[in-house]
Symmetry: C2
Subunit: 354 residues, 2 copies
């Protein structure tokens, strides 16, 4: 491999001057600089980052601890967001998987490796909103947590603002003129379940509408466990025959909405005409390929990744939990019986938030 000394020899300077050029030190004559640049080009020289790291004591590496973020669709966007911000700060990500089923040995080795690489920070990312047990190593270097919450170590935490999202989407349905809105909830084991339900309740109460417990149907099964089936089929008939009959149904997640479309279709009902439907997550391709397109609250994976990384790289990493807003994605499904063809709230997305 060609080193700084080879470049110096060719450029006819000391190797220290080459170092200055590499590091954009202004204290080099323009002519010298040009000669060095040319020599670098000619030799195809590339600085050795291991040497720089050793001498400068800064690795430029951030450890990204992935708890299944590449498995769960879309949560990989946390990585994307972190990467975007890292790039802008000349930091690179070293990614390791710490899956719950990966075994303790594996987990420990991955962390050891990160620390031996002298990472300047650690970002722990979860596949979905849930409680996690953070590795003790996160107490040893600057650390942040995205899409999960921890009880042991205290680190800045970035979570999707479930309740606000639920309130917003419910208000959208209310603004369409719906007064009787059912809610097909999530598996109660999920952290998002109670928060989304709370937002739904809140919006109804603010609108002066009494919450009808009969319209809050039992949570589905099977979100976490592979092949189990959910219960839309079992509850849809109860909903359609209840009185007053709901004109809109809010689903806890897009896959539930998909099942609902199907259940309605097989009963001769058409979403967006006979029944308004809205949901959470914006899981593509479901939300796009459903007809009509599904109106849903997009999970802010990208934004959580960006904000967590920004926090990690900033000097004053203040602790506490930051709730990151969802983006509202309006397609056609929220239009329903007797509602105007256009939304009263006309902005189509919330944006990136604070």
């Amino acid at each position: 491999m060609v080193s700084i000394k080879d470049v110096a020899r060719l450029a006819g300077t000391s190797f220290k001057t080459v170092s200055r050029v590499i590091n954009d030190d202004p204290a080099v004559r323009e002519e010298t600089r040009a000669r060095v640049r040319q020599a670098i080009e000619e030799l195809g020289y590339r600085p050795n980052s291991a040497a720089r790291t050793m001498r400068s004591q800064r690795s430029g590496v951030i450890g990204f601890i992935s708890d299944r973020v590449t498995t769960q669709p879309h949560s990989g966007d946390i990585l994307r967001g972190a990467q975007q911000v890292g790039d802008a700060h000349d930091k690179v990500l070293m990614v390791v998987n710490i899956d719950r089923d990966a075994g303790f040995r594996h987990r420990q080795r991955a962390l050891d490796m990160l620390l031996e690489r002298r990472v300047e920070g650690l970002l722990y990312a979860c596949d979905y909103h849930r409680e996690v047990e953070l590795p003790k190593e996160m107490g040893m270097v600057p650390s942040v947590l995205a899409n999960g919450f921890a009880s042991g170590i205290e680190v800045p935490t970035f979570l999707p603002d479930e309740q606000r999202a639920a309130r917003e989407i419910t208000r959208l349905l209310l603004a369409q003129g719906h007064r009787c809105i059912a809610y097909l909830g999530l598996n109660p084991r999920l952290a998002a379940a109670s928060l989304r339900q709370a937002g739904y309740r809140q919006a109804l109460e603010e609108a002066g509408i009494a919450v009808d417990e009969a319209l809050m149907q039992p949570a589905e099964v099977g979100v976490l466990d592979g092949d189990e089936r959910s219960t839309v089929e079992a509850t849809i008939d109860r909903l359609l025959t209840s009185s007053p009959r709901p004109t809109a149904i809010l689903c806890g997640q897009d896959s539930t909405a998909m099942q609902l479309y199907l259940a309605l279709a097989s009963r001769g009902q058409c979403v967006g005409r006979d029944m308004a439907v809205a949901s959470f997550d914006d899981q593509r391709p479901i939300s796009i390929f459903l007809t009509p397109g599904l109106t849903t609250m997009r999970l802010p994976h990208l934004e959580m990744g960006q904000q967590a990384m920004r926090c990690l790289l900033s000097q004053e990493r203040e602790g506490g939990t930051t709730l990151v807003p969802f983006a509202r994605v309006e397609r056609q499904s929220h239009l329903g019986p007797g509602s105007p063809r256009r939304s009263a709230l006309s902005e189509s997305a919330v944006g990136d938030g604070p």
Copy 2:
């Protein structure tokens, strides 16, 4: 930071002996080893990988170049697979994004960084099966390509075996007794489109069934372009009224199957009873949450990642293209009118392949 010398001092040996212990050199007396181990423990010493890299000239880092693999659902499994194999070989992945919309400067900087880190190899992974233009840097270190094919540089390439998958799933439908099987194709711009269609044709021909062009419906639009809609609604009626009427429909991908379920339901037809359906990709949660569960060929993302990485780390990296088999995932949708309740081909998955 505590160094090898601090450990040596505490253990009462030379720092060279500490180095031996770290590297599991057998030529150390057991008692000495124990003393050193204890000192390491006490001081919380961790070897500095930058120093090791510099002296040994081996970084232990593999560069993972991601072309949107975290965006497209499930293709992130390529990363997972690569990571599993890397872990087993004590290699760590440095992940960079080279998205097509990320700009040349960005792309170049990411590659520079990887080379400055002295990566021992490069793995380029695509979000979906397509042609890519490989960065020239991939000619400078050992490199492999997963889920895409390149024309410029020649590197070992790992691709999903689309045609074989199509042949297999079509044969499954034939084994169910179906003689009239329609095919709802992919967007012809996709590399998988013609390969899957060829496999479908091949299986029919092998079964002595003439391919009815009318049953190969126009490819859908919208696979690549966000909000465009596909054409299932436009073609389904033609299919249902054609004579002979198909008893099974093979879909180019799971999202098409989802639309088909919906179109059939709204026409009073029930998948798995009135019509058999099968598909490709195994995109969760679609394939799981559809009722009945979707029988589909799972894309071998994980396996491509594993095999590409294995190839990269092996000594004799023979070139050429390796076709990685899909896994057959049998659920209930392929059962159809008049078919036996159990598959004639009874193995439920193909396995990991060669």
